[in-house]
Symmetry: C2
Subunit: 255 residues, 2 copies
């Protein structure tokens, strides 16, 4: 809506790909060098862009700080963290917390597996939305028309043979997840990794977040992982209760 700001902000994802010099930025923005310079200067003053010793620009430090502060304002995260930790202690596997925002699903917290073989993931990184168990839960809760709209717009990359192939299949899966109240990803993203996930609901019953337990085949089979479902659901329900203000704080969460 605002041309100047729009251009300035377009610089950020551009620099995210890697450092670039003034000319490159100007070219990719389709503006004159002097314009790009002014925009970069403004970004620089706000610390979003840093000028490294070779004069090239890259993303700046304030970005980290902002992202951190944004994190801390997500109160689901704060409430859920001790529960994630306890769940991890109970089963030993990697535990994730994810939320839905603007068509993306992203991990906002994680407790690493205690086994040597771990799955790769990063907090803040969008998840594979068509296959991840947490994504299914978060999307399944959307009102029907919106859910369909989202499903139509998505790409369906075939990470593995078991990946969700297309929109109709995805919508069917979401319907199932919606009914059963939990979700799985059995090798749909990485052949050898399975997940079980359960929803976290707010006071109004809407799904605000989802938590999952992930483990590679070499550690536990899919069937064994499924036996953890009650544990995951209990943890998620505990967070739900706390988040919606029903249960003040569960005893276990205190310590």
């Amino acid at each position: 809506m605002s041309q100047t700001v729009d251009r300035a902000l377009s610089i950020l994802p551009l620099l995210a790909e890697g450092p670039a010099d003034l000319g490159q930025v100007a070219d990719r923005l389709g503006v004159h060098k002097s314009t790009a310079l002014r925009l970069l200067r403004t970004l620089h003053e706000h610390g979003l862009v840093y000028r490294q010793s070779d004069q090239r620009y890259r993303l700046g430090a304030r970005l980290f700080a902002l992202a951190q502060e944004a994190m801390e304002n997500l109160d689901v995260r704060e409430i859920a963290h001790p529960h994630l930790a306890r769940l991890n202690e109970a089963c030993g596997h990697t535990v994730h917390l994810a939320v839905h925002e603007e068509g993306e699903v992203l991990y906002i917290d994680k407790v690493e597996s205690r086994y040597p073989v771990r799955m790769y993931s990063r907090i803040g990184r969008p998840v594979a939305i068509t296959v991840a168990a947490v994504a299914k839960l978060l999307l399944a809760d959307l009102p029907e028309p919106e859910r369909r709209a989202v499903a139509e717009k998505l790409d369906y990359p075939l990470y593995t043979a078991r990946s969700t192939p297309n929109a109709p299949a995805f919508l069917r899966e979401l319907e199932k997840v919606r009914e059963q109240g939990w979700a799985t990803d059995l090798g749909g993203h990485e052949e050898s990794i399975n997940c079980v996930a359960a929803p976290i609901r707010g006071a109004d019953g809407r799904v605000v977040a989802a938590m999952s337990v992930s483990a590679p085949n070499v550690v536990v089979t899919a069937d064994e992982l499924l036996t953890l479902l009650p544990l995951v659901r209990r943890a998620a329900d505990a967070v739900s209760g706390e988040y919606s203000g029903r249960n003040p704080i569960t005893q276990a969460a205190k310590e």
Copy 2:
């Protein structure tokens, strides 16, 4: 330099404090509501702000993604990480990696202590620049005039009785650190926590990052922690060698 962008970017730190509605944003920017609305819309389109269900704005998801990508473009971090991990395995304490940028020093990586008592810190968060061991190393390497300029501008909060009290004391400390090639923080930030740090240098000999080992008194005394200094320096030197391209990859780092 660019008014519109300047105003738009000023919204971000403002929202970092917590969600705010249109009126609040407009007030704190000192602009008309309609102006604030347009700016917020533009930020929204780029995913930097998110409109939550109660219509208030808060920082958005793309911010996380950007910060993550920015991280991954810091190649020191990538190179250093395995060394941090091994250092942590060797001594068991919390290991930090920090860089200097635009007058701030911030942690860009961390491996948690294996002891139950841990120090609080967060990746991306600026460190207590006047007392942290890593900050001393990074600032000590600046050319003298710049170093003095920075020292003069800083605040010297008295976190503890042993905190650096003022600019002259800080400059003396930096001089000492510069000469000895390593730094400590003995209870200068938190009464019961000590750190030892060593510098990581680029091909030109300039300090590009610093790594430290931190531990609370209750786990090891300051003297005991100091015995780890050779270990820390060796790790830092290994990173320096790899980063500057001298040693391709050390054997230990491979596994």
